[in-house]
Each structure stands twice: as C-alpha cells, then as structure tokens.
C-alpha cells in the first residue's frame, strides 16, 4: 500500500491547521448550542443539567431529541435507545477516522469522544487523501467542544432573554460548512459529486417512503448503501 503523506508536517503547522479548521465548526456550533440550552431549559432542565448533557453526551442531534422526549415525558430507556440509534453513524465515522489520524493510537482513541458529524467531515474531506496528525485533530476538536459547551451554558443561562427563533435560524451555519466542504471536492472528482447527490436523494427518498424509519437509520442506510454502490465507479485519483 502506498504511504500517504501526513498533513500538516511541522508542529506549528499542525496547530495552525487545527485552529483554522476548528474555527468554522466552532462558529457553526455556537448558535446551535445556544438553541439547545434554551430548549433544554424550556423542557425543565437546570443550567447545570443542560451544560452537563453537552459535556457528557456531546451529540447535537441526540441532545435535541432527548430534550424533546424529556419534555413529552418519555421514559429513560427509550431515550437512551433513540440516542444509540441516532448516534450509531459515529461508529462508521470513527472507523474512517481511526485510519486517517496519524500518530499515537492511545491519544487518538482518547479523542474519539470528540468525533461528531462536523469534526468527521472536516477531517476526512478537507484533508483530502492525506492523513492528519493527532495534534491537528485535537486542536480542531477542542475548539468545537468548547464552543458546544459555551453555547449550551449561555443558552441555558439566558434562556429567557435570547429570541430562540433567531438563534435557531443561525443553525444554517453548519449546513454552509457541509456545502463549503463538498463543493471543492465535487468539482475535482465527479465521482464524489455523484455519490453525495445520490446519497442525499436516497436519504430524502427514505424519509418520504418510510416515515417510520428513524432519522438515524435513514442516514446510515443512505450513506452506506450509496458509498458501497460508488465502489463500482471508476477510481477517483485522489493523490494529485
């Protein structure tokens, strides 16, 4: 197997990569976390519980779902099960990242706690075919985590003062992040564009055809199925 280069090369460069790639995630997380803090308080949680959930669980979609379920009086076991299903995609993302992050294995394993949709796509797509260093991932993911905690605390603390509809709409930032990551790769390799488009349509189709299917399973099925079919396409020459 060809040995892939690790970016960035030096230590200072690794830190800079982490900072510049962590910034858009942190920026995208802040309003979403603030919204979570507000909704958590509205569901009857305390500021400590809201911040604690962000610190321990650290899984956006699952936290929103849990808060909604708490508010409607759903039992503990069902919430934990729903969280497991919605978050199981991170198992697949970690599988990719475990092979992508270069350096100390125990350190990388410790950082697995910080694998999210956003840290995953930035590390895997933005770095392209190259590996990324543990340090780069650490800095990037630390910024994301701190933004998530800060936002949750602020949202919980000032739940009565912040107009939730306005901050909620700022959640568009994360979609802009995904789109900004996808466009350059899609322009370089039509295979990537096709796979992304087919997966989006499949996820949409599944949500229409099988409304009973949870969001978590729809995402996993679309992503795994379409990327498997994509292996039939001619190779994207990723090492340019």
């Amino acid at each position: 197997m060809r040995k892939v280069r690790t970016i960035p090369v030096g230590r200072a460069e690794a830190v800079r990569w982490g900072l510049s790639n962590g910034a858009p995630i942190a920026l995208g997380y802040l309003p979403v976390a603030i919204t979570f803090g507000i909704l958590g308080r509205q569901a009857g949680l305390s500021v400590a519980e809201v911040t604690g959930m962000s610190a321990w669980v650290y899984a956006g979609a699952s936290q929103f779902l849990a808060v909604k379920m708490i508010a409607s009086g759903v039992g503990l076991f069902e919430i934990v099960l729903a969280t497991f299903i919605l978050n199981f995609r991170h198992f697949l993302m970690s599988t990719v990242l475990a092979r992508k992050i270069e350096g100390s294995k125990p350190k990388a394993a410790a950082l697995s706690y910080w694998v999210t949709d956003e840290t995953f796509v930035v590390a895997s797509v933005h770095a392209g075919p190259e590996s990324i260093s543990v340090l780069s991932f650490f800095i990037m993911a630390l910024m994301a985590y701190l933004a998530w905690l800060t936002g949750s605390f602020v949202g919980g603390m000032f739940a009565d003062l912040i107009p939730v509809r306005i901050v909620d709409g700022m959640g568009i930032g994360l979609y802009a992040l995904f789109i900004a990551l996808l466009i350059p790769s899609a322009r370089r390799h039509w295979q990537f564009a096709l796979v992304a488009a087919a997966s989006a349509l499949t996820a949409w189709g599944l949500s229409r055809l099988a409304p009973g299917l949870s969001e978590g399973w729809a995402l996993i099925a679309a992503t795994l199925g379409v990327s498997a079919l994509g292996t039939l396409l001619p190779d994207a020459e990723t090492d340019e």
């Binding site: 510049s20 858009p24 920026l27 949680l45 899984a59 849990a66 708490i70 503990l76 076991f77 919430i79 934990v80 099960l81 969280t83 978050n87 991170h90 198992f91 993302m93 970690s94 990242l97 475990a98 092979r99 990388a108 394993a109 697995s112 995953f120 796509v121 895997s124 797509v125 509809r165 306005i166 909620d168 709409g169 568009i172 930032g173 994360l174 979609y175 802009a176 992040l177 995904f178 789109i179 900004a180 996808l182 466009i183 790769s185 295979q191 990537f192 992304a196 997966s199 989006a200 996820a203 949409w204 729809a218 995402l219 679309a222 992503t223 379409v226 990327s227 498997a228 994509g230 292996t231």
Partner: protein, 102 residues
C-alpha cells in the same frame, strides 16, 4: 434521574465512537473496502445536507435552501470555510431582520 439519563446517553454515544479506534486502525482491509471507506465521507456529506437543510430555519424552507445555494455559489470562489459560514448566517439574519418573506 436526569443524571442517570446522561450516564446512559454518555455510554451509548461514546462506546460506538471509541470501538473503531481500538481495532480498525490495525486491520488490513481489502481494496474494495478501502474504496468504500474513501467514498463514505462524501455520501455522509450529501445525506447530512439534504433534506435536513430544509428545516434549518424554522418554518422557512425556501430561505434555508436559498442560504444553502448562496453557500454553494460562494464556495466556488472562496476557499475560506469560516467566511462562507458567516455569509450564510448573515444572509439568514438579514432576511429574518428585514422580514422578507422568502
């Protein structure tokens, strides 16, 4: 009770994230699996963007889609992702602030 729930949620979110790091990096995978894993992030991106984006701005799917298209167009010219994130948020705030019914 809430803290017990958090402990449960912690376990079911952390364990699936951790396990691949303990095993997957040592495995030698056949080429087609490697190709599969290489395409996986792009498929994930597609499914994460759509249809979720339509619900990004509460009650205003057209505005959310418009901001998404703006981000896509900007991404053709701007390489800095932070700038694109800021532009998309600013566009939504502007339309909400001005009360433009998109």
């Amino acid at each position: 009770m809430i803290w017990l729930l958090l402990a449960g949620m912690f376990l079911v979110t952390y364990i699936p994230r951790l396990i691949p790091f303990l095993f997957a990096s040592q495995l030698t995978l056949p080429p087609w699996v490697q190709k599969w894993l290489k395409l996986f992030p792009y498929a994930a991106l597609g499914a994460l963007i759509f249809p979720g984006i339509l619900g990004a701005v509460p009650g205003r799917p057209a505005l959310a889609a418009g901001a998404g298209i703006l981000a896509a167009v900007c991404a053709l010219f701007i390489r800095n992702i932070t700038v694109i994130v800021v532009l998309a948020i600013a566009a939504v705030l502007l339309f909400q602030g001005l009360g433009i019914p998109l």
